[in-house]
Structures are given as C-alpha cells and as structure tokens.
C-alpha cells in the first residue's frame, strides 16, 4: 500500500504540477487567435500530459466557425475512429472512455471529452498507450485544460469581436468625417449660391432674437441693401435702424411690436435712405420661430430691394394716366374695341383655306354683318359720347350697328380685309350716324396689334370731318369761281386776239356774200365763182362758230367736267386764241409736240386756261427784253413713265431767284397791272388734276413753266 501510497503521492504531485502548469496557460492565451489557442491546447495535451495524440475542436458559441487541431503521433486508426464516432454520435456527445481504439499490436486507449453541455464549447479527444489511461487525474487535467482553452477561446472571441467592433467604429467615423467634409463643401457652395441669388435678386435675409433683441443673422446682401459694405463687418442693429427713412421708422417699431405680440408673419414696405441720399424701396417679409413649448424665440425674414419695381410701377401708372388722359382729353373720338371673335372667325376661315378675303366677302356679304355684331365695344371716350350724341357712355357700348350707315359696311369690309391680310393699320373716309340719326362724315383709323397678339383691345379713332368736308366743298366752289373770274379776266386780255379770230371768218363771209351778189347782178353771172364763194361762206361760217364755241367754253361758268383729252389737241386749240397776242409782241411761237402721248383725264377749259396763262406770262416776260428775239416754245413730251409733260419756254427776263418760292402764291405778281392770281389758280387747277406745275430757269435766258399730268393707260 506504501508503494501505492508512494505511487499515489507521486501521481498526485505530478498531477498538481501539471495542474499548476495548466493554470498558467490561459494567461499566455489572452489575446491569441482561436486557432492558436486550439493549437496551444493540443500541444499542452500532447507535451505536458504526455499523451500520444490529441484532437481539439473549439466551437464559437455565437455560431462562428469551429476550429479543429490535431497534435501528436497517433495511430492511423484513432482519427478514423474519431471521425466515425463524431459522425455517429451527432449532437448527444458525452464523455466517453474508449478502452481500445487500436486494432494493432499495441493497445491504445482513448478518451472523448465534450466541452460544455452537449459539447457546445467543442470537444477534446486524446489517446495514449498507457494502460491506465485515462486515469481520473488524466480526465481532470484534460477537463481543466479543455475548460481553460474554452474560456480562452471565449475570451479570444470577445477580444476579436471587440477589435472588429472597434474597426467598424473607426471606419464608420472616417466615413462620417468624409460625409461631413462633403456636406460642408456643399453647404459652402449653396451658401455661395444663396449669397449670389440674394445679390441678384437684391434680397437680404436676417434673423432676430427676441429675448436679446439682437440680430443673430444678417446676410451680406442685407448689409448692402442698406448701403453697408459686408467686408467691413456687420453693423449694429441701431445702425440699420438709422437708415430707415425717418417717416417709416416709427411704423417699423409698431409692426415689430404687433408681430411679437401676435406671433404672426408680417410684411411691410419701407424706404431706406443711404448716406449718399439714394432712396430705396424695401419690401420685408418675416416669419416667427417658436420653440417646442410654443414660446416665440426669433423672427426670420427677408428684405427685398423693390426700388426698380416701384419706379417701373410709378412709370406704368404715369403711362397709364397719360394714356387715360389722352384717351379722355384728345379731341378725337376713340373706341376701344374687342376684335377677338372677329379675329377668331377670320383665322377659322383661313384655316379652312380661304385666301382671298376680298373675293370671299364679295360672295358672303352676311359675314360682314356677323363680324360687325362680333365686335365688342369695350370703352369710348367722352368726345365719342358727345360726337355721337349719346346721353351716357353705356348707350354706345352696345353694337357698332347703332352708328353704322349702309355706306359704313363697305369700309368695314375693307377693314376686315386689312385685318385678314395682316396689315397693321387701316384708315378710310366714311360715314357714320349719331344715336340721333344725324349723318357724320368721318375719317376712321384703326391700329391692329402685331401678330401674334391679343385682339381684345383694338383702338379705333373717328375724326369728324363733316365740317371740313363742307368747308372743302365750299372752298372748291370758291376756287372754281375764282378760276372762272381769272379766266374771264384773261379773256378780257385776249379780246384783241379773240376779236381777230372771229372777225377773220366774218370778214371773209361778208366779202364772199358781196362778191356773190355782185356776180349775180351781172348780165352774165359767173355761177362757178358764185358757187366757190358760197362754199367759202359755209366754211368760214363753221370756222367762226368753232371759235365762238371755244370762247363760250372758256367764258362759261359750268362745273368742271373731266373727260379724256389729247394734250396736243389742247395745245393746238389754244394757239389761235393767243395768236394775236403773239403777233403783236412779235413773238415767234413754235410748237414742238411729241406724237403718241397717252391721253389725260381732265377738264378742257381749265387746262386751256392754264396754258393760255403760261403763254401770256411768257409773252409778257419777253416784252421788255430788247437784245434777243422773243421766242416761245410750247412742248409736249411723255414724262416719268405714264405722265404727260407740257412745257412753255420763253426767252424773257427769267425768274428772280428771290421770288421763285412765291411765284405760285396768290396775289404775287411782278406785273404792274397784274392781279397775281394766274399762276396760283393754274397751280390749283393742275393740283386738282393730280398733276404738278413748276418753273425752272433756262440755262441761258428766260424761264420754262412745266406741268405734268397723269396719263391714262
């Protein structure tokens, strides 16, 4: 027993030593990798406990991968057995002692030891060729070592986890910092944008703390609005307040007080006066900021420079007033009309392919009627009310039909054509009637807006020219009378010539009649001579009648009557009338007439009067000239395309350049006995024919008077 005791003591001593050795191990495992722990445990089992073979599996309780390690020189058979055993045992692993795992010559015993309940911590398997293996001490030591390993493994896991968590945390922090940096840059950018936007829109932003009474934010543009330089630092609240227009300052306080009291948004307009005297109009908007408990903390707001808008508004208002003033105070009747429906109707027709509106309206007179009804009269001015004898404006804001007369429709149709053809304006002389049925002669103008535009405010003006027309008519009559008077006066001057023209054929007639009587009284009358004389009498009778007819035309007071005339015939007819005047002044008269002239549309008598007048003037202009032969040329020529020119050229005294402008004025004369009406009347006659009368000095001597008349194609 002693031996046993000794052996027991020895074994116990060894076991204690091993146990102490084992106890030191965990400290060495702290911070090691799980695989290193498993390997260390396997080495301890093989090396320290003198086992032949060890297998260690450490399981991660959190479901991580298990670590398996083998150590020692085992028989081939043990690992196979173990594998088989593990596969067969499943989850219900128990401590097991295997009496003999070998199939070889030497016996080999093994132990299978789970770590934790149901081998949750892993397992340890060991084999040894000692026959007593495993002793209780072996099992205890194995168990302690296994538990140490499991604990170390657990610690290692925890450390690993912590490290991993730390790594993740670091990464997260780095990412966060990056994001912060990005956001900061973004914020700077958007701040720059905001500042730029504020600068462009002249908008300043601010925030004002209620409890401290201090501005806690003011943008750069806010400072600029008030004429401060933001580079110089933000001025004080009082400095800003001082720049509010003195008249608006008190109101600023009131508005702020009320907003604080009522905790409401507020908006107000005020003026700021800058040190250089510039006046700015500022529009302010503010919003209260409340904290969680509903107390007013601050106001945030914006101030916008609306000076330009105010000025534009003022200008617009002024312009509107001016327009109103013109609309009301002008002497012209103005109608504001809505043509939208008319325009739409025209557009629709055009979209249906109607191109020629002149043709269309001719074929569809009902459309004109409808269009008149479509025009909505928006407004008329006071002149219109008065002109159209309305009692009040609304009487006229009804329909154009009320003021149209049948003739007006024609003009309205022309206006529709102008509108359809995209013309910008239209003007015509027409007739309208007042609400009392009185007929008016008017000048009507309308201006359409440029395309594309709204046609709801088209302005039409109506000028009453009834009186003017009457005056024109009476002026025309006076002129005709004056022309007649001057004509008769001219005829008086032409008496000698006229008498000659009539007396010539009369003398011939009388002489021939006497001759005939003489021959007939003879014993043997020469009837041939008598016949010849009688034929001459007939001819001369006609000749005298012709002259008298021409004279009667010239002296007549008939209304001007225009007809198709040959200018050359006109000149030829005048020649005999001035013949005597030409002869008595020893003037050589030459006619230079172009052939194939277009005919003109004119009054024969009046045009002859002009020609006689020019010829007589030419003769008189040459009367006092002694050093050159008096020569008068009457010329006809085609002129400027389809016109006909008549020129009367003399070699007289010419035109005084100082008086050339007055030549055609009434009562201007260079003749001692002249009335000064001839050229004035001549010009008005030519004007009335749509022509032109003018004078030019000749290159050498004298002057040429020209008139051009439109020819008929």
């Amino acid at each position: 027993m002693a031996v046993d005791l000794d052996a027991g003591t020895h074994g116990l001593r060894t076991a204690l030593r091993d146990l102490v050795a084992l106890s030191a191990i965990p400290a060495a495992w702290v911070g090691r990798e799980p695989s290193a722990i498993a390997a260390g445990l396997a080495d301890v089992l093989v090396g320290s406990l003198h086992l032949d073979f060890a297998f260690v599996r450490l399981c991660d309780p959190d479901g991580g991968a298990a670590v398996e390690v083998t150590a020692g020189n085992a028989w081939k058979t043990f690992p196979e057995w173990l594998q088989h055993h593990l596969a067969g045992a499943g989850q219900s692993l128990r401590k097991e002692v295997i009496p003999d795992v070998g199939v070889g010559v030497e016996p080999c015993r093994g132990i299978f030891l789970p770590i934790g309940v149901n081998a949750e911590g892993g397992l340890v398997a060991a084999a040894c060729d000692r026959t007593d293996f495993p002793t209780e001490i072996d099992q205890l030591l194995l168990s302690v070592a296994a538990n140490h390993a499991a604990t170390a493994f657990q610690n290692a896991r925890l450390i690993y986890e912590r490290k991993r968590a730390e790594g993740e945390l670091r990464q997260a922090r780095d990412e966060l910092e990056l994001k912060v940096a990005e956001r900061t840059a973004e914020l700077r950018r958007s701040e720059a944008y905001l500042a730029e936007a504020q600068r462009l829109t002249h908008t300043g932003s601010w925030a004002w703390n209620i409890s401290t009474g201090q501005k806690i934010h003011a943008s750069e543009e806010y400072a600029r609005l008030f004429g401060f330089d933001p580079e110089q630092g933000m001025p004080s609240f009082e400095a800003f307040r001082q720049r509010i227009h003195p008249e608006d300052r008190a109101r600023a306080g009131e508005i702020l007080d009320r907003a604080i009291r009522e905790r409401t948004d507020f908006e107000w307009d005020f003026r700021a006066v800058l040190p250089n005297g510039t006046l700015k109009y500022i529009h302010a908007v503010a919003h209260p900021v409340l904290n969680a408990s509903g107390d007013l903390v601050e106001f945030v707001g914006t101030n916008v420079d609306v000076t330009e808008r105010k000025q534009a508004e003022a200008q617009l208002r002024e312009s509107e007033q001016r327009y109103r003033y013109i609309f009301e105070s002008t002497g012209v009747s103005i109608w504001e009309e809505d043509f939208s429906q008319v325009k739409a109707a025209i557009d629709e027709l055009q979209s249906k392919g109607v191109r020629d509106f002149r043709e269309y309206l001719a074929a569809h007179p009902d459309f004109v009627q409808q269009a008149i009804s479509m025009v909505r009269i928006v407004d008329v001015n006071d002149v219109t009310v008065k002109l159209f004898a309305a009692e009040r404006k609304n009487d006229l804001l009804v329909s154009l039909h009320k003021v149209f007369v049948p003739e007006t429709q024609e003009v309205f149709a022309a206006e529709l054509i102008a509108l359809a053809e995209g013309q910008r304006s239209f003007a015509a002389e027409t007739f309208l009637q007042t609400l009392k049925g009185e007929r008016l002669t008017v000048l009507f103008t309308v201006t359409f807006p440029p395309r594309p535009a709204r046609f709801d405010s088209v302005l039409a003006t109506v000028t009453d020219i009834t009186e003017r027309k009457r005056t024109e008519e009476s002026l025309r009559q006076s002129q005709a009378e004056l022309a007649h008077v001057t004509r008769v006066t001219t005829l008086g001057e032409l008496t000698a010539s006229i008498a000659h023209e009539i007396n010539q054929p009369l003398a011939a007639i009388v002489a021939d009649a006497n001759a005939s009587l003489n021959w007939l009284a003879a014993a043997h009358p020469d009837l041939d001579v008598v016949r010849e004389a009688l034929a001459a009498i007939v001819q001369d009778g006609h000749r005298a009648a012709d002259v008298i007819q021409r004279l009667r035309q010239l002296a007549s007071k008939t209304e001007p009557h225009k007809a198709r005339l040959d200018v050359n015939n006109l000149i030829r007819d005048v020649a005999p009338l001035v013949r005597t005047a030409v002869l008595s002044h020893r003037v050589s008269l030459r006619m230079d007439l172009a052939s194939a002239l277009p005919p003109v549309h004119g009054d024969r008598v009046q045009l002859q009067q002009v020609l006689i007048n020019l010829v007589m003037n030419g003769i008189e202009a040459m009367a006092s000239v002694g050093d050159r032969p008096p020569e008068l040329v009457i010329r006809s020529r085609p002129y400027g395309g389809d016109q006909v020119l008549v020129a009367v050229q003399d070699t007289g005294v010419g035109i005084d350049p100082n008086t050339i402008d007055q030549l055609f004025s009434a009562f201007f004369t260079t003749k001692p006995g002249g009335l000064g009406m001839g050229l004035s009347i001549s010009r008005s006659i030519i004007d009335a024919h749509g022509g032109r009368l003018w004078a030019t000095p000749n290159p050498t001597h004298g002057a040429t008077f020209h008139f051009a008349l439109p020819g008929i194609r």
């Binding site: 010539q504 011939a508 009388v510 002489a511 021939d512 006497n514 001759a515 001819q539 000749r543």
Partner: protein
C-alpha cells in the same frame, strides 16, 4: 403808157385773201393776192395804177412795216389797211403814214370799194404827178448852169436888170438866157415857171421877194 388798175391784196389768212380776191374781182378790178409782205415785195408789179389792201397784223413783216418800206421806194402805193381788231393808236399811226383808209373786219363792201376806187384815183394822180415831175426834171436837166442861175432869180421875182447886176452880166444877155430857158422849160409864162420850179423844189435865189413854195405832195 398805163394799163388797167390793179388791186394788190396781202393777207396771211387764206380765207380772207380769197374772199377779197373774189369780191374785188366781182366789181371789175384786176386783183393780185399775196400771203405775206415779202412775197408782195418780191413780185413784179405792172405799170398801172393800183392800190394795196393790207392786213395790219401779219406774221414777220407787219402791215405797218410794209407801209414804211414802200414809202422809201419810188413804187409807193396807196394803202387800205384791214384789221381784225383795230385799235385807235394803230389806225392813227397808219393814217399819219399816209394810209387811204383803215377798215375793221368785217368791213362793208361799199367802204372797201370806195376806198379802193379813191386809192386808185389817187394813185393815178400820183403816177401822173410823178410822170410830169420826171418831165420837168428832164427839162431842167437840159439847162446850162447859167440858165439855172437865171431861173432861180426869175422865180425869186427879180427883174432882168437886177439879175444882170447880181450875176455881173448885161441885161441883154439875161434877156437872151431867159428866152432860152423859158423855151427849154416849156413855160408859157413866169407863173408857169414859178410853178415848175416849185414842183422841182428849186429854191429861189437872190435878194428879191420870195414866193411861197408848195411842197411836193408825198404819195
């Protein structure tokens, strides 16, 4: 020596011209018509009494111009002016220049024919006068210078004795020269001689009393 009288017509108006031709022919005159003054001036005129019916207003050379030109020649003709529209100053001028008549168109036939007849008569007389004057001039031209001197003094009313004294010759010689010149001048008496001298426009000479001298009538 003289043929039938001829009436010349100058008028630029053919109707008037032809009617005048027919009218004047109808009363038996010979008529020659011209459209203008130069045409008339160029024409050769027959040696016969005549007159000119002239329109005042003519293109170019007027009637009054023609009157003036004719007066400057030997072939003066009595002129009857016609005018379509006569004015007083013009007719006065024409009449002063010796026109026979100034008729306004349309004229009465009788007025024209009377004027023509009177003008022809006047021309006949003038022609006679001119003929006689030419005779006298021829006679006067045949006188010697001394005979002309004597003639001038006879016409002045001097006696032979006075003439002889003035010319420094004898009374007999003067008497002889006086007989020669009376014969040459075909003067029957001193009165005839005075009349001839006056027509020839010979001024009287010497210091004796002079006789009034008739001017030669202009035609």
């Amino acid at each position: 020596m003289t043929g039938s009288p001829v009436v010349f017509v100058v008028d630029d108006d053919s109707a008037v011209r032809d009617s005048l031709r027919r009218l004047i022919t109808s009363v038996g005159f010979i008529v020659e018509v011209f459209p203008s003054a130069p045409a008339f001036m160029r024409a050769r005129r027959p040696d016969a009494p005549g007159c000119l019916v002239l329109d005042v207003r003519l293109p170019g050379l007027s009637g009054l111009d023609l009157q003036r030109e004719l007066a400057d020649t030997d072939a003066a003709l009595p002129i009857i002016f016609l005018t379509g529209h006569g004015d007083i100053p013009m007719s006065v001028r024409a009449m002063k220049a010796g026109a026979v008549e100034f008729l306004t168109k349309p004229f009465r036939e009788q007025d024209l024919l009377d004027a023509i007849r009177s003008a022809i008569e006047r021309d006949r007389e003038a022609r006679q006068e001119r003929h006689e004057l030419a005779e006298l001039r021829g006679r006067y031209a045949s006188l010697t210078p001394r005979e002309r001197d004597v003639l001038a003094r006879i016409v002045a009313g001097l006696l032979n004795k006075q003439i002889a004294g003035e010319l420094g010759t004898s009374e007999v010689t003067v008497k002889e020269q006086r007989g020669h010149l009376m014969r040459k001048m075909q003067a029957g008496s001193v009165a005839d001689l005075v009349r001839f001298a006056s027509r020839l426009g010979i001024p009287s000479a010497g210091s004796g009393p002079s006789l009034p001298v008739r001017t030669i009538p202009s035609v």
